[in-house]
C-alpha cells in the first residue's frame, strides 16, 4: 500500500511536469487518427478481395487491431520509455541516483518517463475497436468483458517484463543499447491473428517472445472463444518472465560498474 502511494505520488509529479510543459496534444490525436486510418484502409483493401482471414471476419480483425494498439499505447505511455531508459542510465552511470533510494529502483525507473501525451491516441484506437463490434452486430456479455480485462491486464504485465528483460541485457552488453527496439519490432506480430503463424515462428511467438498471445488471448474472450486455458497459460508465462526478471536484475546489479572509477 505504501509502495502504491509512492508510485502514485511519483506519477503525480510527472503529471505535473507534463502539464507545466506544453505538449503536443493535437499531434498525438493526429497520430492516433493516422494509425487508425492506415489500419482501416489496409484491412479494407484486403477484405475487398476475401471475406475472412484465417476465420477472422472484418469486424473481428478490427477488434484485434484495436486491442493490439490499445495495449501497446498504454504500455508505452506509462512504462515503455522509462523501462528502456534503464539502458541509458546504466550507460551513463546515472542508475546510482535510484540505487541509493529506499525504494525498489526498478519500479521507480519504470515509472520514470511516462508519456501522458500518448493517451490522446487512445480514443482513435478505441473507435476502431468499437467499430469492429458494430460490423459484427453483436456485443459480448458482461462476464466476457470482465475476462477480457483480466486477460488484458495480464498481457500488460507480461509486456512489462518482456521489455524489461530485454533492456536488462544492458548490464552485460552496455554498448548495445539499440537492442531494446527489437521488442517494438516484434510487437508487429501481435497485430494479426495468431493462426496465421506456422511452424517454428509460432512456437517462438507463444513461448520465448510471447508477443502474439499479448493481443490474441484477451480478444478470444470477446469473440466467444471462452477457454480458461488461455488465462492459465498467460499466468504461467507471466510467472516465468517475472522469475527471469528477478534473476537478471540481481545478477545485473552485481555487474554494474557505474560510469567512473
Amino acid at each position: 500500500m505504501k509502495s502504491l502511494k509512492i508510485i502514485l505520488k511519483f506519477l503525480y509529479l510527472k503529471f505535473k511536469s507534463h502539464i507545466a510543459f506544453r505538449t503536443d496534444t493535437v499531434l498525438q490525436i493526429l497520430f492516433g487518427i493516422l494509425d487508425t486510418l492506415f489500419a482501416f484502409l489496409f484491412f479494407n483493401v484486403i477484405y475487398s478481395y476475401v471475406d475472412n482471414v484465417v476465420g477472422f471476419e472484418k469486424g473481428e480483425i478490427y477488434i484485434l487491431t484495436g486491442t493490439a494498439y490499445l495495449l501497446d499505447t498504454l504500455h508505452r505511455s506509462i512504462f515503455g520509455t522509462g523501462i528502456f531508459s534503464l539502458s541509458i542510465l546504466v550507460k551513463s552511470g546515472r542508475l546510482e541516483k535510484y540505487l541509493i533510494r529506499p525504494f525498489k529502483p526498478n519500479v521507480l525507473v519504470a515509472f520514470r518517463e511516462p508519456r501522458f501525451d500518448m493517451f490522446y491516441r487512445l480514443p482513435s484506437y478505441f473507435v476502431l475497436f468499437i467499430y469492429g463490434f458494430y460490423l459484427l452486430k453483436t456485443f459480448p456479455s458482461f462476464f466476457d468483458i470482465l475476462l477480457f480485462f483480466t486477460s488484458f491486464s495480464i498481457s500488460s504485465l507480461i509486456y512489462i517484463f518482456l521489455s524489461y528483460n530485454i533492456t536488462l541485457l544492458t548490464f552485460w552488453i552496455i554498448e548495445v543499447y539499440n537492442l531494446y527496439y527489437i521488442i517494438y519490432d516484434f510487437y508487429e506480430f501481435a497485430r494479426y491473428p495468431e493462426k496465421i503463424y506456422k511452424g517454428i515462428f509460432r512456437k517462438i511467438f507463444i513461448t520465448i517472445i510471447p508477443v502474439i498471445i499479448l493481443s490474441n488471448y484477451p480478444v478470444k474472450f470477446l469473440l466467444k472463444e471462452r477457454n480458461y486455458f488461455f488465462l492459465f497459460y498467460q499466468i504461467f508465462i507471466l510467472f516465468i518472465f517475472f522469475l527471469i526478471f528477478k534473476l537478471m536484475w540481481k545478477r545485473g546489479l552485481r555487474r554494474y560498474e557505474g560510469a567512473t572509477i
Binding site: 505504501k2 505520488k9 505535473k16 510543459f21 529506499p102 525504494f103 557505474g258
Partner: protein
C-alpha cells in the same frame, strides 16, 4: 563510535578493449577482449561518528569507487565493508534511509523534477523516505534559511543557476536527516560564494546531527576547512592517513617560495633553472616548492641570477603539497 569500517577492500573492473576501425568493431562484436583495472587494491580504514573524513587523490585514484561501494551502488570484488552495521550491497531499506550520496552535478532533484519546482520534488522525497510532516517542515525551513534559497524554491528547476541548483540538491540530500554522508565533489564547478555557503552548511549539518561524512573535492579549500582527518589515495592504495597538518608535514618538509620577476623575458631561463615551477595565472606570481634545507640556498641563487621582486618563503598549502606528490609519482 565506529560508523564505517573497511578492511582489505578490493575492486577490479573488467573493461573492454576497444579496437579501431570497422574491422575492429566487427571483431569486437563477436569476441571482445577485456583488461582488468584494479581500482582498489586492498584499502582499510575506519570513520567515526561525527567525523568528516577528507578523501583526496588524483582522478581515477579510486575515491568515487570506494564511496560507491560504501553506499551499496557497486559490488565489491573482495574485502569487508560495514556501514552503520549494514552490508551496503544488500541495500536494505533501513540502511538506505540513513545514508545520502551527493554526486556533484548529478542530482536527484533534477532527475525527478525539471519543468516544475524544487518544492514539488522535496515533497516527493519526503514521501519516499517516509519523513514525518513536522520534521520535514522544520528541516526545510531551517535549510532554506541557511542556504538562502527561499525565493527559488517555487521556480521551475530548469531556470535555476548551477550554484543555486546545487544548494537545492543539498537540501534534497539532507532533508531526511541521514546520518552518513558521502559527498563526491559537492562544490564542483560552483562560484566561490556558493562554495563557501555549501561548506558552512555541511559543517553545520554534521555538527548538529552528529553525522559521519566522507568528502572528496578538487578544491583543497573544502578539504582543509572541513576535514577532521585526511586519507590520501593514489592508484587504489592509501598513501597517507592522518591530520591535514600532518599531511603537509609528511609530504612536504618543504617550503614554498613565492616571487615575481621584474622582467618577464627571463621566464625561459627560469624554467631551465628550475623546471618544476608553477605560475599563478592571475597574480603573475611564481611558486617553487623546495626542501626546507635548500630554501635559503635557492633564494640566494634566485637573487644572483634574476631580478626578483616580492619574494616570500612560506609553509605550503595542502593543494600545493599534493600536486607535488602526484606529479612526482606519475
Amino acid at each position: 563510535m565506529e560508523v564505517i569500517k573497511v578492511k582489505d577492500l578490493h575492486k577490479i573492473y573488467r573493461r573492454p578493449i576497444k579496437e579501431k576501425g570497422l574491422k575492429g568493431s566487427i571483431k569486437e562484436f563477436f569476441k571482445r577482449k577485456y583488461e582488468e583495472v584494479h581500482a582498489l587494491k586492498g584499502i582499510s580504514f575506519e570513520v567515526y561518528e561525527g567525523e568528516i573524513l577528507g578523501f583526496v587523490g588524483p582522478n581515477g585514484a579510486g575515491k568515487t569507487t570506494c564511496m560507491k561501494i560504501l553506499s551499496g551502488v557497486l559490488y565489491k570484488t573482495k574485502g569487508y565493508v560495514n556501514v552503520l552495521g549494514f552490508d551496503p550491497f544488500k541495500r536494505e531499506k533501513e540502511f538506505l534511509k540513513k545514508i545520502t550520496f551527493v554526486m556533484g552535478l548529478e542530482g536527484f532533484l533534477e532527475e525527478i523534477v525539471w519543468d516544475i519546482s524544487a518544492r514539488d520534488g522535496l515533497y516527493f522525497i519526503k514521501d519516499l523516505y517516509e519523513v514525518n510532516d513536522k520534521v520535514f517542515l522544520e528541516n526545510l525551513n531551517e535549510m532554506v534559511e541557511i542556504l538562502d534559497v527561499k525565493d527559488i524554491l517555487d521556480v521551475p528547476l530548469r531556470r535555476i543557476s548551477k550554484g543555486q541548483k546545487m544548494r537545492l540538491e543539498l537540501i534534497a540530500s539532507l532533508i531526511y536527516n541521514p546520518s552518513v554522508l558521502f559527498l563526491d565533489e559537492p562544490t564542483l564547478g560552483l562560484d566561490i560564494v556558493s562554495q563557501k555557503n555549501i561548506r558552512e552548511f555541511i559543517k553545520y549539518y554534521v555538527e548538529k546531527n552528529k553525522a559521519t561524512c566522507i568528502l572528496t573535492s578538487h578544491y583543497m579549500k573544502d578539504v582543509e576547512e572541513l576535514s577532521d582527518r585526511l586519507i590520501v589515495i593514489n592508484n587504489g592504495e592509501i598513501i597517507y592517513e592522518g591530520s591535514v597538518q600532518g599531511a603537509i608535514e609528511k609530504f612536504s618538509g618543504k617550503k614554498l617560495i613565492k616571487f615575481s620577476l621584474k622582467d618577464e623575458r627571463d621566464k625561459e631561463k627560469l624554467k631551465n633553472f628550475y623546471p618544476k615551477i608553477h605560475k599563478d595565472k592571475e597574480e603573475g606570481i611564481y611558486r617553487i616548492l623546495v626542501p626546507k634545507s635548500f630554501a635559503s640556498e635557492i633564494t640566494k641563487n634566485l637573487f644572483q641570477n634574476f631580478e626578483i621582486t616580492d619574494i616570500t618563503i612560506e609553509e605550503p598549502e595542502l593543494e600545493e603539497v599534493l600536486r607535488d606528490v602526484f606529479e612526482s609519482s606519475s
